[in-house]
């Protein structure tokens, strides 16, 4: 079983790969649409500007991702990769997300410092295969200036200038706003859950 880490030029690919290596999980970093379609699982990481996700469209990777997830391939979006799962972002008006979840990513309100950087508590609010086995009170590492709203598939939230979605999960689709590859033992456990699950 091989996990494809989708390379669209937006950071943190090797840190995700290192975490999978640590778990003994075979993975490859790829920008090849054919490999993405054929892979057993997909991870779309990413840090930075929402406009960077345009590269997924122009390269044909978005179509490959849509084909793969339509066929049931488990998909994990991390940080910008999670935001991309939504309809759009006010960070880059006019740039369409993958749109598997409804809603727009918006900037944190002016009364809190931005980016939201550091370890914040997860409030787990529903059954989740991704969060299975995590302690009821756990902290994960965030670094982002835009956030996604709380929607029906939200299984964990976080508080910072209001409540936002930290984890979304529906069928074969998973998204985390924080960086599991940088969240110590908790994050490694979450990635292990993703590696092990069969959808």
């Amino acid at each position: 079983m091989t996990i494809a880490i989708v390379d669209y030029g937006a950071g943190n690919l090797t840190s995700v790969k290192k975490a999978l290596d640590f778990l003994g999980q075979p993975s490859m970093i790829t920008a090849d649409p054919d490999q993405v379609v054929r892979s057993d699982k997909l991870i779309v990481p990413g840090v930075g500007h929402f406009a960077a996700t345009q590269a997924l469209c122009s390269s044909g990777l978005k179509y490959s991702v849509e084909t793969a997830i339509g066929g049931g391939t488990p998909f994990l979006g991390i940080c910008l990769g999670m935001q991309w799962m939504f309809t759009s972002s006010s960070e880059a008006p006019g740039v369409a997300g993958l749109g598997v979840f409804p809603g727009e990513c918006v900037h944190f309100p002016a009364e809190v410092k931005s980016p939201h950087v550091g370890w914040n508590a997860l409030q787990i609010r529903g059954d989740s295969r991704l969060l299975c086995g995590l302690p009821a009170e756990c902290f994960v590492y965030f670094t982002h200036s835009y956030r996604v709203p709380v929607v029906a598939p939200t299984v964990a939230t976080c508080e910072y200038g209001g409540t936002f979605s930290a984890v979304v999960e529906k069928d074969n689709l998973f998204g985390v706003q924080f960086h599991p590859e940088k969240s110590g033992a908790v994050g490694i456990k979450l990635l292990e859950n993703f590696c092990r699950l069969s959808c």
Binding site: G11, N12, T14, S15, K18, A19, F22, V47, G48, H49, K113, S114, P115, H116, V117, G118, W119, N120, A121, F139, Y141, T143, H144, S145, E159, Y160, E181, K182, S183, G184, A185, G187, I188
Partner: protein, 255 residues
């Protein structure tokens, strides 16, 4: 609630940590990879590796040190010291750093901040400021070259400029307090922290858990760097975090 971060700092010279740490069960107390892993296990929220190598010859080992340290480190990892160009920053990221810290190079060429932020994102760029109080005033001056060269720039003004140019965080060191163990410079930290809208990491002067409580409460710091307090084993990380939690400071504990 967003927790206050305790960041462990490793000073590295020629690939070796120069200040020892009294951890048990370490094969090699001067190895950055082993020490970073030990700090992570003990509850550090992040690791900063600062290359203080004085010679180009010794600096050559940096990338290999970063690579080895990052391999099995699953908390945020910052590398600083001597990064002068976008290419040098790119090599450090490629070797496994999540963030880089720049100081003198940013003072010489503030455009470098924007340049690195545009390519790697603001979250990856920390601007380090070494500041000292101007005699007889309430103002602080930013210094370059490891605190050797006064720049004539007001530290608060410089922090604001760094933010506007794309810095994601400020690492603020009080030169007056550094190494004294007499407590953080809360007035300076508060002036910077209240003056910008990005997180500020306080550094210099930590001698006790109470000093951390003060810099979070009175200094409005978002994070604090712990160097010698950990290095000399006077306050183990776990104990420090327990003390902070007991004082009502929100920290990641248990981890």
């Amino acid at each position: 609630m967003l927790t206050k971060r305790i960041i462990a700092c490793l000073d590295v010279d020629g690939g070796r940590v120069v200040k020892g740490i009294q951890f048990v069960n370490l094969r090699d107390a001067g190895d950055p990879a082993e020490l970073a892993a030990a700090h992570s296990k003990a509850g550090a929220d992040e690791i900063v590796l600062l290359d203080i190598s004085a010679t180009a010859e010794k600096r050559k080992t940096l990338l290999e040190t970063v690579r080895r340290t990052a391999r099995e480190l699953f908390i945020p990892f910052t590398v600083g010291g001597g990064i002068r160009t976008l290419d040098e920053a790119a090599s450090v990221f490629e070797a496994g750093a999540d963030k880089i810290s720049i100081n003198s190079a940013a003072l010489t060429d503030p455009g470098l901040i924007t340049c690195i932020a545009d390519r790697f994102g603001s979250q990856a760029v920390i601007v380090a400021i070494d500041a000292r109080r101007r005699n007889g005033t309430g103002h602080y001056e930013a210094f370059a070259r490891g605190g050797r060269t006064p720049t004539g720039r007001d530290a608060v003004v410089w922090a604001r400029e760094a933010e506007s140019r794309g810095a994601g965080e400020i690492l603020l060191t009080s030169m007056d307090r550094d190494g004294t163990g007499s407590g953080f410079e809360c007035t300076l930290t508060r002036a910077i922290s209240d003056g910008v809208r990005i997180p500020v990491i306080a550094s210099g002067g930590a001698g006790s858990a109470q000093h951390f409580v003060e810099v979070f409460r009175e200094g409005h710091a978002d994070a604090a760097l712990a160097a010698s307090i950990l290095h000399y084993g006077t306050t183990p990380l776990a104990e420090l975090k327990r003390d902070l939690a007991a004082a009502g400071i929100s920290v990641r504990w248990p981890c």
